[in-house]
């Protein structure tokens, strides 16, 4: 026996629990510091948490974002207003169209163009925003389900996300970083058969959502890991600046689309789902319901979208027609100045915000009258939500960090700018 034990220690470098003395079987009495991330599969994007754990229980945590910091704000100060669009694509790279719209709205606010865009532009923006919101929620739910072991739900949702990406690619020309919106309009009109494609796509997704709901809603493992985990009270959610699905899961009845209506949202009918307990399971339910509301909005848009121009008729932000550019010197110069100097925005400051995938996404812009922003600031919901994570994971087990993080849906690009 003794020989066997020594052999096991020598060969395998370990002991069985029953071979340990009584004192060795106890977990270590001291607190332990563990690094979770930055490149951990469950840390969406890259974020590092320095956890102080008592056994498996988290007693203290220090979250370090910033591994994906690409100086969005500094780069924007050196780019023309139009050149900022590709940067905004890379903020929340799961729903880039909403970022595009948010930036365009901030610039239009300073130019006094809010509410003066052609109806078709506003409808196109709502359509692409809602499609982006769907890709965001599909990714969030799918990835979180996968981290809890439900791989089928992940594959189903990513497959449906791909249908939406294919359609967005058809509309904009790029699968992920669309850069489709422009100041005062959009880059090009919707393709001829977008209506039928979207109907087909939504019909399929309705079925997929039903299938995934059957798989997850009353799944014992899923519910045990989600219900009661990472709960937040309504008052905490408000004071911590939470917005979007996370705040709504806590019962905060706030949706930018309804409470500070922009674009053509007042003409559309949709409900704002609310949770009661504010835990991870409620966040999941709110997101699923929002998916259904997105489909509802999209179907209304399909019926209501009018024909018309796709760019506001304002020489400050629309390019001259191509025939004029090639045939008259004035239009040629205007085209050149527009591209090289950028859209001239009158001096001033303004904050415009939209309902992003994770809540109120805003851009605070200070303009000095030139074609480049003097200052561009992005109010990123992910950053604000991540700041609450330390409080949410407190007193939970290490394994609970995964669903809490999944449902906060921190997007590295948006959080770290």
């Amino acid at each position: 026996m003794a020989d066997a034990q020594t052999l096991k220690q020598l060969v395998l470098g370990r002991k069985d629990v029953q071979d340990l003395s009584d004192t060795e079987q106890e977990p270590p009495p001291d607190l332990m510091t563990v690094n979770m991330g930055p490149s951990h599969p469950a840390m969406h994007g890259t974020v590092r948490i320095v956890l102080t754990v008592d056994g498996e229980k988290i007693v203290k945590s220090d979250i370090h974002p910033g591994y994906l910091h690409r100086c969005f704000e500094k780069e924007s100060e050196y780019a023309t207003y139009t050149q900022v669009f590709p940067y905004t694509d890379r903020l929340n790279y799961v729903s880039p169209m909403i970022n595009n719209c948010g930036w365009a709205m901030a610039v239009e606010k300073l130019m006094g163009l809010t509410g003066k865009l052609p109806k078709r532009v506003e409808y196109i923006r709502v359509i692409i925003s809602e499609m982006s919101r769907m890709t965001d929620h599909l990714t969030c739910i799918g990835a979180s389900a996968m981290e809890l072991g439900a791989f089928t739900a992940f594959l189903y949702f990513l497959k449906s996300r791909e249908w939406l990406y294919e359609l967005l690619e058809k509309i904009s020309g790029a699968r992920l970083t669309h850069s489709y919106v422009r100041v005062g309009g959009v880059a090009k009109d919707l393709p001829a058969d977008w209506d039928a494609d979207l109907t087909h796509c939504l019909d399929k997704i309705v079925g997929v959502i039903d299938e995934v709901e059957v798989m997850l809603n009353n799944n014992k493992i899923f519910r045990d890991r989600m219900a009661g985990i990472g709960a937040m009270t309504r008052a905490d959610a408000i004071a911590s600046g939470c917005v979007g699905p996370i705040a709504r899961a806590c019962g905060v009845d706030y949706d930018v689309r309804r409470d500070h209506p922009y674009s053509v949202y007042p003409e559309l009918e949709f409900d704002v789902p609310l949770g009661t307990t504010g835990d991870c399971y409620d966040r999941y339910l709110v997101r699923v319901e929002e998916l259904k509301q997105c489909i509802r909005i999209l179907r209304q848009c399909q019926k209501q979208i009018p024909d018309g121009p796709i760019m506001v008729d304002d020489p400050r932000c629309s390019l001259p027609p191509k025939t004029d550019t090639y045939n008259t010197i004035e239009s040629m110069i205007r085209h050149f100045k527009h591209i090289m100097d950028g859209v001239r925005v009158p001096a001033g400051e303004g904050y415009a915000f939209v309902e992003g995938g994770n809540g109120e996404l805003g851009f605070f812009v200070v303009a000095d009258g030139t074609g480049r922003p003097y200052k561009a600031y992005c109010r990123s919901p992910s950053f604000v939500h991540l700041s609450t994570a330390g409080q949410l994971i407190h007193d939970h087990f290490i394994a609970d960090v995964v669903p809490i993080f999944g449902m906060i849906n921190m997007i590295g690009g948006e959080c770290d700018k």
Partner: protein
């Protein structure tokens, strides 16, 4: 509706408000630095104001400010920045869930003494946002519970979003214990 907020604020704190304005649909109140905490506390606790939700905190560096097509620039001191003008403006955007109104507080800070009261005690969301503003602009928030850099590493020298920080400057973080301390860092201290 929000104009009422500005009027009530001016009536309540006549000496603390430098001026108020409505620019591009946003309500803005410029507050004296020393009165910020009292004003903010009242804004949060008064039932008619009820600014319970924080939105964002950031800062504007006016160093390169030379506005063109200048009709109404945001700072009242107008045209171009010079040494006699306050260099930084810290902005706090607040929102009320109940009344659905919004307000931006702006605090002007001199170049040689960029300190400002921290509002992290009143709204926990400002904890990280003020850390970000400190990280990027070097604003010292007084009584902040944990004022550290947040995006950048602690060895980083300078504040990258200030206008005098060159865009092309690189500061790779390479730990080499055998080399002497970075001369830039020594000089900065």
């Amino acid at each position: 509706m929000s104009k009422k907020v500005l009027d009530a604020l001016t009536a309540k704190f006549p000496s603390a408000i430098v001026r108020t304005a409505t620019a591009n649909g946003d309500e803005i109140a410029w507050i004296k630095r020393d009165d910020l905490l009292a004003v903010a506390k009242w804004l949060r606790d008064d039932p008619a104001m009820a600014f319970d939700a924080p939105v964002f905190c950031t800062c504007i560096d006016w160093l390169d400010w030379k506005p063109q097509h200048n009709n109404r620039p945001p700072p009242e001191w107008g045209s171009a920045w010079n040494e006699t003008k306050p260099r930084f403006t810290v902005c706090y955007q607040l929102r009320s869930v109940a009344h659905k109104h919004r307000l931006r507080l702006e605090i002007e800070l001199p170049e040689n003494d960029p300190r400002c009261a921290s509002l992290a005690e009143l709204w926990p969301a400002f904890n990280w946002q003020e850390r970000e503003t400190f990280d990027m602009y070097g604003i010292k928030f007084e009584n902040h519970p944990d004022l550290r850099r947040i995006y950048l590493y602690e060895e980083f020298v300078g504040y990258p979003l200030r206008k005098d920080y060159p865009k092309e400057k690189r500061q790779p973080l390479v730990r080499r214990d055998d080399l002497p301390i970075n001369p830039i860092k020594a000089e900065h201290k």
